[in-house]
């Protein structure tokens, strides 16, 4: 037995002695003590309550994992329950190993996992007489950041072999199809509501390499539709959590991640490294960039987007109709809606994302499919599906063809890095000589005032009519999320106004850091 709960103070000397082995040259122990304050509040004691059966089983599992992972001699852990005073020993971890490095790492692994996974709740007693149950939120786990090199000698002996038997049984897949999947490289842009099912189905199917692009961190409001993530992942970069889930699901899949959105400078080159790209963002700008990069690199692209109970799906193959054949110009953000402003039920992006994964597998395996380009409309309320063929002769062909339209669009792209500026507080922008333009609607401004004076208040839809006012001086456009302001700044830049910038992340980003 490597783990136990203690309802009263315990002696650590016998625990240490029990870990001594002739082959062990290093021993490392960690002790967790009760501290007199937490998050600025004075504490004079606390109580631990455990779901004992589960805690014992999970604690045992954690210590065994550490022993196997680092190949150490032995380890054990004891966690207190009941009432504790300041300075009392709350948890003890010990690990013995041939060399000190493994002993340190195993000890750290055990305490990090104990804090993260054990069903033990802490009630703090404050000096004011109050008390409160304290949530054990996201714990930093050092071993997640270890390089493979550091512990590759201590991986569990039996490697997991993925079992593809259920799909191998399909006549159209078979061993040859499975080999094609293993040799494929797919880039998924956006690891949100659409991206989660795409990533998990493609990883499960055994696609050899998955690239994942996403700059966002996981928010509690994502969890109803973004099925790769859990409560404990909140605050973490989506690409990091997604990578971990893919590795847990199918370690045979190689994962490459980009934690910043692609831009006009690198998108064509990155697309060229993949057989197929699946565009899963909620961002029109990203969809147009992906379209242009797919056309110019000759990469197949699967687009989908959702609005409330509906979705749209379009597969773009080299030489056939593209997104700009349908909608030549990127629409303004207030024309297209978003999950934030319009609302969405989780299964809607779930369904469209699963359809994107299906289209990806059809393309990779060359399964039967309609060849003519089309826009598919899906309505999940009335279960209607409409396939509208796209006549490429009436699209970009009228403007020199998809490739030259895409090339011109990328050349015009001024680059987001120069347009979007980060400020922690708006006073910094004023101090840097910017005049502020608030693009929000009056009711948004009332709900959340800027706190500093804006030189202008102009609705984002009206910005071009006011272009003449921005010829002199440096301007920072501000909206709630940074999306309307970035679009407006690009419109003004296209008019030759180069001193116009957008507040990155909008007012909501200020609130988090400010």
């Amino acid at each position: 037995m490597h783990f136990r709960l203690a309802s009263e103070a315990f002696d650590t000397a016998p625990l240490r002695d029990g870990l001594q082995q002739p082959g062990c040259g290093g021993f490392c122990a960690f002790e967790g003590w009760v501290r007199d304050s937490n998050e600025g509040r004075q504490v004079d004691g606390l109580s631990y309550e455990a779901y004992a059966e589960l805690a014992l089983a999970e604690g045992e599992r954690i210590v065994e994992e550490a022993i196997a992972r680092y190949g150490i001699g032995d380890a054990c852990c004891v966690h207190r329950t009941g009432d504790l005073a300041i300075g009392d020993l709350a948890v003890w971890v010990g690990a013995s190993a041939a060399h000190r490095d493994e002993a340190f790492r195993a000890c750290r692994y055990i305490i990090d996992e104990i804090k993260h996974r054990l069903p033990i709740w802490k009630k703090e007693h404050y000096v004011t007489g109050e008390s409160a149950w304290v949530a054990c939120t996201h714990a930093y786990r050092e071993h997640e950041h270890e390089s493979d090199h550091a512990h590759r000698h201590h991986e569990p002996a039996a490697a997991f072999a993925p079992d593809y038997s259920r799909q191998l049984r399909l006549r159209e897949v078979g061993e040859a199809g499975q080999a094609r999947l293993a040799a494929s490289r797919v880039l998924v842009i956006g690891a949100g509501g659409l991206g989660c099912p795409v990533i998990s189905y493609l990883a499960g199917a055994g696609v050899g390499t998955l690239g994942i692009v996403d700059g966002d961190r996981i928010d509690a409001s994502n969890l109803h539709r973004q099925t790769l993530y859990g409560m404990r992942d909140i605050g973490e970069l989506k690409v990091d959590a997604a990578r971990r889930r893919v590795t847990a699901l199918n370690p045979a899949v190689q994962v490459q991640t980009w934690s910043k959105p692609l831009d006009a400078d690198n998108a064509v080159e990155v697309f060229g490294q993949f057989d197929l790209v699946v565009e899963c963002t909620d961002d029109m700008r990203s969809r147009y960039l992906s379209n242009d990069a797919a056309v110019l690199s000759g990469t197949r692209l699967i687009l989908a987007s959702v609005y409330q109970y509906e979705g749209q799906l379009q597969v773009i193959e080299p030489g056939a109709a593209c997104l700009r054949c349908l909608w030549p110009h990127e629409p303004a953000p207030d024309e297209v809606g978003s999950c934030v402003s319009s609302g969405v039920l989780g299964p809607v992006p779930g369904t469209l994302g699963a359809m994107q994964a299906m289209e990806a597998l059809k393309l990779l395996l060359d399964l039967p499919r309609p060849r003519e380009p089309a826009l598919l409309l899906v309505n999940l309320l009335d279960m209607g599906m409409t396939r509208l063929p796209i006549d490429a002769r009436r699209g970009c062909a009228l403007h020199g063809g998809c490739a030259s339209v895409a090339r011109r669009a990328l050349e015009r792209d001024p680059g987001e890095a120069d347009i979007a500026l980060h400020f922690d507080v708006l006073e910094e922008a004023l101090a840097a000589g910017f005049q502020l333009v608030d693009l929000r609607e009056t009711k948004e401004i009332i709900a959340e005032p800027l706190g500093v004076a804006a030189a202008r208040q102009i609705s984002s839809a009206q910005i071009l009519a006011h272009a003449g006012e921005f010829a002199q001086g440096r301007w920072l456009l501000v909206c709630a999320s940074g999306r309307r302001s970035a679009h407006a700044a690009r419109l003004l830049r296209a008019e030759g106004l180069h001193q116009v910038h957008s507040l990155a992340g909008g007012v909501s980003a200020l609130r988090v850091t400010g």
């Binding site: 987007s305 349908l326 992006p349 509208l388």
Partner: protein
């Protein structure tokens, strides 16, 4: 008057408060029909921001209306 079947998607469905309707109209073209609908449902999107399809084929806004046509209005959407 021409009787046509209309289908609304995304923002248009939300603004109309319905997924579709049958309508008798004096409009001769899709553009005239959409202008009539803007007044009827307070649609905020300009015709140029939309795609329109008649009987499951994309059409230009000058396309003439015929009795019994099914007309679908499609805004671009971005959610994910």
């Amino acid at each position: 008057m021409t009787v046509v079947n209309l289908q609304y998607y995304a923002q248009l469905r939300e603004q109309a408060g319905m997924g579709g309707e049958q309508l008798a109209t004096a409009a001769a073209t899709l553009r005239q029909l959409y202008e009539e609908l803007c007044a009827r449902h307070d649609f905020t999107l300009a015709a140029d921001a939309l795609k329109v399809a008649v009987n499951a084929q994309f059409c230009g806004w000058d396309h003439p209306l015929r009795e019994g046509d099914t007309v679908v209005f499609i805004p671009p959407v971005a959610g994910g």
